[in-house]
Symmetry: C2
Subunit: 210 residues, 2 copies
């Protein structure tokens, strides 16, 4: 971030240090292991400063995830199948990192872990829910741009329902992590994108010319 | 349920009464308003009986949702577009019921409400997570049967990835409720099923015969 353009550079540096420290603690110990007091101590920042900025642990955790997620860009190579697969793999990796944060049960562990705690925090506190939805809106705007460019160059159908396409793709990943407990990885991202692009209906064969 | 075929008819009746009472309380007051003690009193059942069967409120809530969900059948009319739309509408209705349980904020309320609490309960307690996954596995088995019959009669493509199709459909609904806060209803179910069946890729025109 360009500090000259930012009004309060010193605050931004403190925020950055706090969020980096909190991210480390959250990923290492999980939701229960995150504590505002410990983040304050590790980051060398006064507790009061932290509590003024993030009144509860839920607020701090959502800010951490917003920051991690905003680091994820989306590549546009001009091949929508590849770009969407790469993007779904990124989301899957981020979900897996949060899902296993602070847990030691390994690959058989089907709990949604921190992902579920964040979702519940957003449902309990309206302001946290609103923060979370803004994070997703920013990410979705990038993805909608990618899809729109593919539509304009004729890769995707002209009458595409882009919002539903994104719901189907990201939704399948979240559903597996939060609800069915199934794994998400590169191989699944490939199956998912293929299904969404190609559709489930049986295509009629092209009739032979007479 | 046929009592002659069931080993412990009296317990089954008690379970039924408790779950019906708990469902009423959960839908009326939301997650915070559900209390094992009050369910015991309203259902006229000893608290110890309830605690023996459902050790925590989380356990009781998941059992309630399992029962509500098992009431939802899936119709097979032979038209997969219609059947999947009806089915997605049913899931949307159930999610909306849980989402708004105990909340008074009306249609602008974007919180996931009880849906998020249930997901978090499943992530926190391995046994509850496992119960939840079994509920979804039962429901998915019905839906997979519907999809397989449509595939066999040629409505759906022969090489269909049925599990991914279900993830895409149900996943989009849960994603909107749990993550983006967007509404789910009949109109959305129609858009969703159309997108999943028709696919996002631009179809090449059939070339004219020479």
């Amino acid at each position: 971030m360009n500090q000259a353009r930012r009004g309060r550079p010193r605050d931004a540096q403190v925020d950055e240090r706090v969020l980096r420290t909190a991210a480390g603690l959250l990923l290492e110990r999980g939701y229960n292991g995150l504590s505002i007091d410990e983040v304050a101590e590790r980051a060398g920042v006064a507790k009061t400063t932290l509590y003024r900025r993030w009144p509860t642990k839920d607020h701090l955790a959502v800010a951490v995830v917003a920051r991690l997620q905003d680091d994820d860009g989306i590549d546009d190579t001009g091949d929508i199948r590849r770009d969407l697969t790469d993007y779904m793999e990124k989301i899957a990796d981020a979900l897996n990192r949060m899902r296993s944060a602070g847990r030691t049960a390994g690959r058989d562990d089907r709990s949604a872990g921190v992902v579920a705690e964040l979702v519940a925090a957003g449902a309990r506190h309206d302001d946290i829910g609103e923060m979370g939805r803004q994070v997703y809106a920013r990410r979705n705007a990038l993805a909608l741009g990618l899809i729109e460019r593919a539509r304009l160059r004729g890769e995707l159908r002209a009458d595409l329902d882009a919002a539903v396409l994104l719901d189907q793709l990201a939704g399948a990943l979240y559903y597996r992590v939060l609800v069915t407990g199934a794994p998400v990885d590169r191989a699944y991202a490939e199956r998912l994108v293929a299904a969404a692009l190609d559709g489930a209906m049986n295509r009629k064969e092209i009739p032979p010319c007479p």
